[in-house]
C-alpha cells in the first residue's frame, strides 16, 4: 500500500514540476530564438565568397544536459508496451536540441559572427542505467558545434 502512495506522490510531483519546467523552458526558448533569428546556422561547408573583407573563423559549440521527469518516464514506459509514438520523449529531445542550438548561437553572437557553417548536432544518452529501470533514457546530452565566421578589417591586398 505504501509503495502505491509513494508512486502516486512521485507521479504528482513529476507532473506538476515537469509541466511547469517545460512551459517555462519553451517560453524562454521561443523568446531567445526570436532575438537571435538574424544569425543563420547552416549545414553547408563552403564559405560565402567575400572579397572586400578579411574573414576569420573559430569553432563554437553549445551543449546541454536535460532530464525527463518521473511522470513522463512512467507514461513512456506504459506506452512502450503497445509501441507507437512516444510524444513525451519527443518534447524532451526537441527542447534539448533547440537549447543547444541557442547556446551555439549565443556563443557565435559574442564573437560577432555573421554565419555559422557546418552546424552539427550530436545526441548522447548519459546515465543510461543509473535509473530504476534498465535501458531507460533518464537524461540526454545534446551538443551542437560549428564554424563561426567573422568579418574583421578591410583586406589590404588581394590574395585570391
Amino acid at each position: 500500500m505504501s509503495e502505491i502512495i509513494i508512486l502516486v506522490c512521485l507521479l504528482t510531483l513529476g507532473y506538476y514540476f515537469g509541466q511547469r519546467a517545460e512551459t517555462k523552458h519553451y517560453k524562454s526558448i521561443i523568446e531567445r530564438e526570436n532575438q537571435l533569428i538574424k544569425l543563420p546556422l547552416v549545414t553547408l561547408k563552403t564559405p560565402p565568397a567575400i572579397n572586400q573583407y578579411e574573414v576569420n573563423s573559430a569553432l563554437v559549440s553549445g551543449s546541454v544536459v536535460i532530464s525527463i521527469d518521473f511522470f513522463k518516464q512512467f507514461i513512456a514506459s506504459l506506452k512502450m508496451l503497445f509501441g507507437g509514438r512516444l510524444t513525451t520523449y519527443e518534447s524532451l529531445l526537441d527542447r534539448a536540441r533547440r537549447e543547444a542550438l541557442l547556446r551555439l548561437r549565443e556563443q557565435a553572437k559574442i564573437r560577432n559572427a555573421f554565419v555559422v557553417l557546418n552546424t552539427r548536432i550530436e545526441t548522447a544518452s548519459i546515465s543510461k542505467s543509473s535509473g530504476r529501470r534498465e535501458g531507460s533514457i533518464g537524461s540526454i546530452e545534446v551538443i551542437a558545434y560549428g564554424t563561426a565566421l567573422t568579418m574583421t578589417s578591410r583586406r589590404r591586398h588581394n590574395t585570391r
Binding site: 513529476g14 515537469g18 576569420n56 518516464q73 535509473g131
Partner: protein, 104 residues
C-alpha cells in the same frame, strides 16, 4: 590556433598537412552530483552540474588535441569532430579529433 569543422580555413591558404591529431578524456560522475541528478530525474529540467562537467571535459579533450598539433608545428586544425561514448557504467569518454595543418 585556429579551429574549424570545415575542410578549410576561410580566407587563408593551406600550406602543409600534418595528419590526424586527437585528444580524449574519460570522466566519471561525482557521487554527490549523481544523487542530486537522480532527484532531478523526478522533477525534470536541466542538469546544469552535468552540463558544466561535460563542457569542461570537452574543453580538456580539445586542449589535448591542440597541444598535439602545436608539437607538430601546426597553427590550425580543420575538420574537427567531437564524439561521446560511454565506456563503463557512470563514465563517459569525450573525444575530439581533426587534421592539423599549417596556414599562411
Amino acid at each position: 590556433m585556429i579551429l574549424t569543422n570545415i575542410e578549410q580555413v576561410p580566407g587563408r591558404k593551406i600550406l602543409q598537412h600534418y595528419g590526424l591529431v586527437q585528444g580524449n578524456t574519460i570522466r566519471a560522475k561525482h557521487v554527490g552530483k549523481d544523487i542530486l541528478a537522480s532527484i532531478k530525474n523526478i522533477f525534470g529540467g536541466e542538469l546544469s552540474a552535468y552540463t558544466e562537467l561535460l563542457s569542461e571535459s570537452r574543453k580538456e579533450a580539445t586542449d589535448r588535441m591542440i597541444q598535439q598539433a602545436e608539437a607538430m608545428g601546426a597553427n590550425a586544425i580543420v575538420n574537427v569532430r567531437y564524439s561521446t561514448s560511454s565506456v563503463a557504467q557512470g563514465a563517459a569518454e569525450l573525444y575530439a579529433y581533426g587534421t592539423a595543418i599549417r596556414v599562411e
